[in-house]
């Protein structure tokens, strides 16, 4: 079984003729992903990277069979691009675009929920099932197939940690970024649920960041459900200066300070293996595995 993307994925690229859209369409094709169509308003009936381009998602689907999309369109148009994909029944919808207005994302996520569509991002590196397909901008060569599910709030740090795992001979089942924008589709808890039910995933790595409460929510979920698979985590930002705080209400609503130390502490309390630096993760996972075998 492959989570979200795999050999079965037939994807559209929305914003395929832009600089980033075109470049990464090439890299996704090179990785073996089936990119079957592109959409750019006004560029219909042209071809980009050998892929036919359409003006709308609906018109693409009249000609071509597709089941997923990746969005590169600029932030002011991202909400509508997402809705267009949802209306067309594409699922998952991966949104690479960053810095989308919070109000737009809020409305888009509500629309996705109503249509039972999975949104990855915005501001995500995307999703990769190593050895099968990637819908994203991550460098494919740092990943290798295996049993670790990786979910991250950061883009580049995901590549960093995947590359440590790969060098240590630890492969990954699926790696995805939940997205760096304030409002995202999937969160850590959603991804933990997916990895729990995924037979190809043996253990999970969570890569967190200062701010918000995604890590605390994940920790609570792990504790409440007696999560059946080992989880390891790294939280970036111990040495970072205190981040943006949204007045009183921000602190109140998360119920936490949002610091890296507080998040790491909460993870430790619920039995998550916490790495001080990213390079420690492979060792933690190997120790865990050894301990499981002994028992």
């Amino acid at each position: 079984m492959t989570l979200l993307v795999g050999k079965h994925t037939r994807a559209i690229v929305q914003g395929i003729t832009g600089n980033q859209g075109a470049f990464h369409t090439r890299l996704m094709l090179d990785y073996g992903t089936q990119i079957v169509a592109g959409v750019t308003p006004g560029k219909g009936a042209t071809v980009s990277q050998g892929v036919p381009v359409f003006d709308t998602v609906a018109s693409a689907l009249e000609k071509i069979d597709a089941n997923a999309t990746i969005i590169f369109v600029p932030a002011p148009f991202a909400k509508e691009a997402g809705m267009e994909a949802i209306d067309a029944g594409l699922n998952p919808v991966v949104i690479i675009t960053e810095m989308i207005p919070a109000r737009d994302s809020m409305v888009l996520m509500a629309y996705a929920k109503e249509h039972a569509t999975t949104i990855v991002g915005p501001n995500t590196p995307g999703v990769i099932t190593p050895g099968e397909a990637k819908l994203g901008i991550m460098p494919g060569d740092v990943f290798t197939p295996g049993g670790i599910g990786v979910a991250s709030r950061s883009g580049t740090l995901t590549y960093e940690i995947a590359s440590y795992l790969t060098h240590a001979g630890i492969g990954q089942s699926t790696c995805l970024g939940i997205g760096g924008d304030p409002i995202t589709g999937l969160n850590f808890v959603d991804v933990l649920k997916m990895f729990r039910d995924d037979k190809s995933t043996d253990a999970v790595v969570l890569i967190g960041e200062i701010g918000g409460s995604a890590e605390e929510d994940a920790a609570n979920y792990i504790a409440e459900t007696h999560y059946p698979k080992p989880v390891a985590a790294y939280v970036a930002g111990r040495a970072a200066p205190p981040g943006k705080r949204m007045g009183h209400a921000g602190a109140i609503i998360t119920g936490t300070e949002g610091t890296a130390d507080a998040k790491m502490k909460r993870f430790s309390e619920v039995g998550v293996l916490v790495a001080e630096v990213p390079s420690e993760l492979p060792r933690l996972l190997q120790q865990q595995k050894a301990a499981l075998i002994q028992h």
Binding site: A110, P139, Y159, V277
Partner: protein, 379 residues
């Protein structure tokens, strides 16, 4: 983008939200004249973007215009949590029956806006939230339909109001919500939100934070967004003008990387090996050569930087573009500080070749590079 109290109140007044009568002063004499105009007793409030000005002495009272001038003079010479006070707001002192707390905040976890309210407003609201969280009312708003009249009424009812007062409070909450929609605010917060003795609700304080990602559709904030706020150092202001996410720190190792998470992890790792970062600098995803060159020049121009660690793990960014940026700096102004470059990912072979051609070796592992830059002797 945080707005000052006086800016927030001016937006509120346009929507018919009650604010105390008053005026803005930059000098003690202006403060005195405003007091003369509005009469009665006044409150003098420092206009700063940092929170906690009350406890820092940034709020004082004046019963006569001359006294107001003296208090304003004191406040105008203050620096609150590193932010110099440049203006004071002079407002009529309200006849307070009760101090409430009311806010509409972007609720990331629930992907909606949520109303937070309490009948125990005032400067100790954070203590209330910590010690008795049940005294803070949470009311989630539908992300598509927003605040409906009955949402606001329900909040007012829970705060203990009925009859005409409930209607007044409902109107005020609805207008605060309207403000959040019109200006794409991630926070609208009134604390205290005052119930006066004559039955009115007035936003005695008001804070608005505009969602930075929405600024492109708000020409009314364009000029304001360019002004450096009191919380930004000159170096940070320069970097941000050039589109860099930049925070100045007090160490000596200049840091540049792509992606906030990676740069944060870089700071963590440099710290872990005993080094002290001089800054946080994220060139962002997809940075081109020019952007990298600008960042490098800003970092190497910082006096306290003794050496620089460039940490690139390219996805949407391309190593060859980063390398070209470094080459450009070498050609145009020269490389002024020792560099440690770590590169991996998209087009890394090409990036490595370009840097090797100007005599710079690149490393592939972040750990090794971090250890090298921490251990390297300053040239």
């Amino acid at each position: 983008m945080k707005l000052f109290e006086y800016e927030s109140k001016s937006l509120a007044q346009n929507l018919g939200i009650n604010t105390p009568r008053g005026g803005l002063a930059s000098t003690p004499d202006e403060a005195r004249d405003i007091h003369k105009r509005i009469g009665g007793e006044v409150v003098i409030k420092a206009q700063v973007l940092v929170a906690g000005r009350g406890k820092a002495g940034g709020i004082k009272f004046g019963s006569k215009p001359e006294e107001t001038r003296d208090r304003a003079s004191e406040i105008l010479s203050m620096t609150i949590k590193g932010e110099k006070v440049k203006k004071v707001l002079i407002e009529q002192k309200l006849n307070i029956k009760k101090e409430l707390f009311g806010s509409i905040v972007l609720d990331r976890a629930n992907k909606c806006q949520t109303v937070l309210a309490s009948d125990q407003g005032g400067i100790d609201i954070e203590d209330v939230a910590k010690q008795s969280p049940e005294k803070i009312l949470h009311h989630r708003l539908d992300p598509v339909f927003g605040m409906r009249g009955y949402d606001a009424r329900q909040v007012g009812l829970k705060l203990g109001y009925t009859g005409q007062r409930l209607n007044s409070l409902t109107d005020l909450l609805s207008n605060l919500y309207r403000l959040s929609v019109i200006y794409d605010a991630e926070l609208v917060e009134s604390n205290p939100l005052v119930e006066t003795n004559d039955g009115k609700f007035v936003t005695a304080d008001l804070r608005v934070i505009v969602d930075d990602n929405s600024l492109f559709r708000h020409p009314e904030f364009q000029e304001r967004a360019k002004e450096a706020s009191g919380e930004v150092t000159p170096l940070e202001a320069k970097a941000r003008e050039n589109g860099l996410a930049f925070v100045e720190l007090d160490g000596d190792i200049g840091i540049m990387g792509n992606g906030a998470g990676l740069v944060m992890a870089t700071l963590d790792m440099v710290n872990h090996y005993g080094g002290k970062p001089a800054n946080f600098c994220d060139v962002g995803g997809g940075a081109n050569a020019e952007h990298v060159a600008t960042a490098l020049q800003i970092i190497q121009g910082d006096q306290k930087v003794s050496r620089i660690f460039i940490n690139i793990l390219a996805g949407i960014t391309r190593c060859d573009e980063v390398a070209k940026g470094i080459v450009d700096v070498k050609k145009v102004v020269g490389l002024k500080k020792p560099l440690v470059v770590r590169m991996q990912g998209t087009n890394f072979e090409e990036g490595k070749r370009i840097l090797n051609s100007i005599g710079i070796t690149t490393l592939e592992k972040m750990d090794e590079a971090a250890q090298l830059v921490v251990a390297s002797k300053v040239a």
